[in-house]
Amino acid sequence: ENSLLRQVSSLLRRLPAIESEKFQDDFLMEYNDTLLVSYLAMFTNC
């Protein structure tokens, strides 16, 4: 079914959704912040 194939093709073109160094930097920074908060919470717990 050509229509379905075109839609799938259009959908697959969108992957990967974001692929850039800036995004990776921001993402890892967010990751680190959350890990830091968890670390601090463990200290508080102790």
């Binding site: 050509n2 075109r6 839609q7 093709s9 697959l12 969108r14």
Partner: protein, 221 residues
């Protein structure tokens, strides 16, 4: 999906038209289809037996034209002008729109220079007008124009007709995506199990500590 819904009716109309006529009358149908402002898919029309019969006849260049509109670009047309009929302005516009879709297939960030080269546009203003009026407003692409970095960030582009060999690549990508999703689900389930186990161990540990404390209190008293 919107674009497919909108052009389904037109595809059906032109397929019926193509099935009803033969020979040189098909050239009008092909020109009409390739000029239509809301039609960007031509595989169904190409599959009509009457259209395929044009191969090797005096009207075969119209068959090649239809194939070009299904899978080709404006640059490819310029390289093979000798073998293809002259295009009317609406067809030129359509081919340029399809060229943008093809470029968006390969990369999400399209530099203005590349677009100007591929679309035969001389300045940025003209390019942006084309992208906004003829591509975004029509609904075949969605994206952001970055004037500072001189590029067009594509968020969505409508699908073109498949080229030979593309299907295998699509199936591979879908399988890869499916595997990634399955693995992710398994990981999530494992993490849930781990969290439950740790919670139970923690509760048990608390209970043991409390019992020890009670024991020590009793001993002391």
């Amino acid at each position: 999906m919107d674009i497919e819904q909108r052009q389904a009716e037109h595809i059906e109309y032109f397929v019926k038209q193509a099935s009803a006529v033969r020979g040189s009358a098909l050239t009008t149908v092909i020109v009409d289809a390739t000029s239509h402002p809301s039609l960007f898919a031509f595989s169904e029309i190409l599959a009509v037996p009457n259209i395929l019969e044009l191969e090797g006849t005096e009207n075969s260049m119209y068959l090649y034209l239809l194939r070009l509109f299904a899978q080709g670009t404006w640059t490819q047309y310029k390289n093979f002008t000798g073998n293809l009929p002259q295009l009317v302005p609406d067809q030129v516009l359509k081919l340029k729109q399809l060229t943008v879709l093809t470029l968006a297939e390969t990369t999400k960030v399209l530099p203005y220079d590349l677009l100007m080269q591929e679309l035969d546009v001389s300045n940025v203003r003209e390019l942006e007008d084309f992208l906004i009026n003829e591509c975004m407003y029509v609904g075949i692409v969605r994206g952001k124009l970055d004037q500072l970095r001189r590029c067009f960030e594509v968020q969505f582009a409508a699908g073109r007709d498949l080229r030979p060999g593309q299907l295998a690549s699509m199936i591979e990508t879908l399988s890869d995506w499916l595997m990634t999703s399955d693995n992710l689900l398994v990981s999530i389930q494992e993490k849930i199990k781990w969290a439950d186990t740790m919670s139970q161990l923690d509760k048990k540990h608390h209970k043991d500590i409390e019992e020890k404390v009670d024991e020590v209190k009793k001993t002391l008293s």
